[in-house]
Symmetry: C2
Subunit: 181 residues, 2 copies
DNA sequence: AATCACTTGCTTGTTGACAGCAAGTAACTC
DNA sequence: GAGTTACTTGCTGTCAACAAGCAAGTGATT
């Protein structure tokens, strides 16, 4: 992860990884089969940690509350584990390449995020907290798109992008557009 | 562009590029200095074309109308020039890597997008079309984040992502949240 | 009109770095 | 003591980058 943060996925070599870990140049290849395999494993590992984090942050909230809590949790994760957050973002971006071996992993994670959000909205509707008229899948798509874009922009230029302000705006927005009257 | 679409930036070789163009393996390096230099040039070239397209689509509209027209134009561009749209997206993602030589190019384009949108909002406010209370920069940030995320998701899984539906939802959203009462 | 100095546009030879594979080795396990 | 596990080392093909070339101009000079 440290090497990916410093050099990016392409300029990091398997030899550097093995030696940084205190082993030989061949270890990484031996363990993960290929460079892509290693990044796939790293992507899954960080995602797992992130999902635990998210679970704890959202708890058993539903609807708007869950969506707002998730935004707060993203911010916290980024504050407390900036290296993981940033590395995960770099990996997601790398997954855009047609040759990326962990493309399906990244796609799967996004798909799961989307279905989780849709479920929050549905539960929110059942609880009478979210307007009955909205389409959970549409909301989920917009929400996930916003999060993807926001984390991407933050990674590209952390200094010109205020995560917390952006999140507050979004939370206000969610309440305005989704709350049952 | 064709090679990037097929193999991604990393698995495309400079030799393949030169030979596909009907020249020698050394031409691409000779012309662009390095692989990164070539991708920088490609990124700028496609961006230029996209900006012409956008200019024509938005015309002299301002405020909400300009923002909705831009969404429509993105969709049109993607329909009419899917190769360019997709290649640009791959390049933007590649720019996330700390080692990418065209990182600044990509950051600059996003920054410009954001300031353009903020300007649309300000003009919309002057024209009394957009509520005076909203902060143009906040709106622009949310809007650009949404677009970045949406194009990313579309690229990752074009089949499970309905661009046009998503755009209609967003346009409705923009009107609801920004229109002067 | 012939020569010479220099540029442009492209090719080819070469080097060092890298991913991935295969054959090893050494310690540990049953 | 036979096999397994965990790791290393040697090797090969591929690649980016560089440097040296070369052929076809261009333009000034005599």
């Amino acid at each position: 992860m440290a090497l990916v943060l410093e050099h990016g996925t392409d300029k990091t070599t398997l030899a550097m990884i093995g030696e940084k870990a205190g082993y030989s140049r061949g270890l990484a290849t031996y363990r993960f089969g290929s460079k892509g395999g290693l990044y796939d494993a790293l992507c899954k590992s960080i995602s797992r940690h992130w999902l635990e984090y998210l679970k704890r942050g959202v708890g058993d909230k539903v609807g708007i509350e869950a969506m707002c809590a998730a935004l707060d949790t993203i911010y916290e994760f980024e504050q407390e584990s900036p290296q993981e957050a940033r590395a995960l973002e770099i990996l997601y971006c790398g997954a855009a390449s047609p040759s990326a071996e962990y493309q399906q992993t990244a796609v799967g994670i996004r798909r799961r995020q989307k279905s989780d959000v849709a479920e929050w909205v549905r539960r929110g509707q059942e609880a009478g907290q979210v307007r009955a008229g909205v389409d959970p899948d549409e909301v989920a798509t917009q929400y996930v798109a916003y999060i993807s874009g926001m984390t991407y922009l933050w990674m590209m230029s952390p200094d010109t992008f205020d995560f917390s302000v952006s999140n507050e705006v979004m939370k206000r927005h969610l309440k305005d557009s989704l709350a049952a009257s």
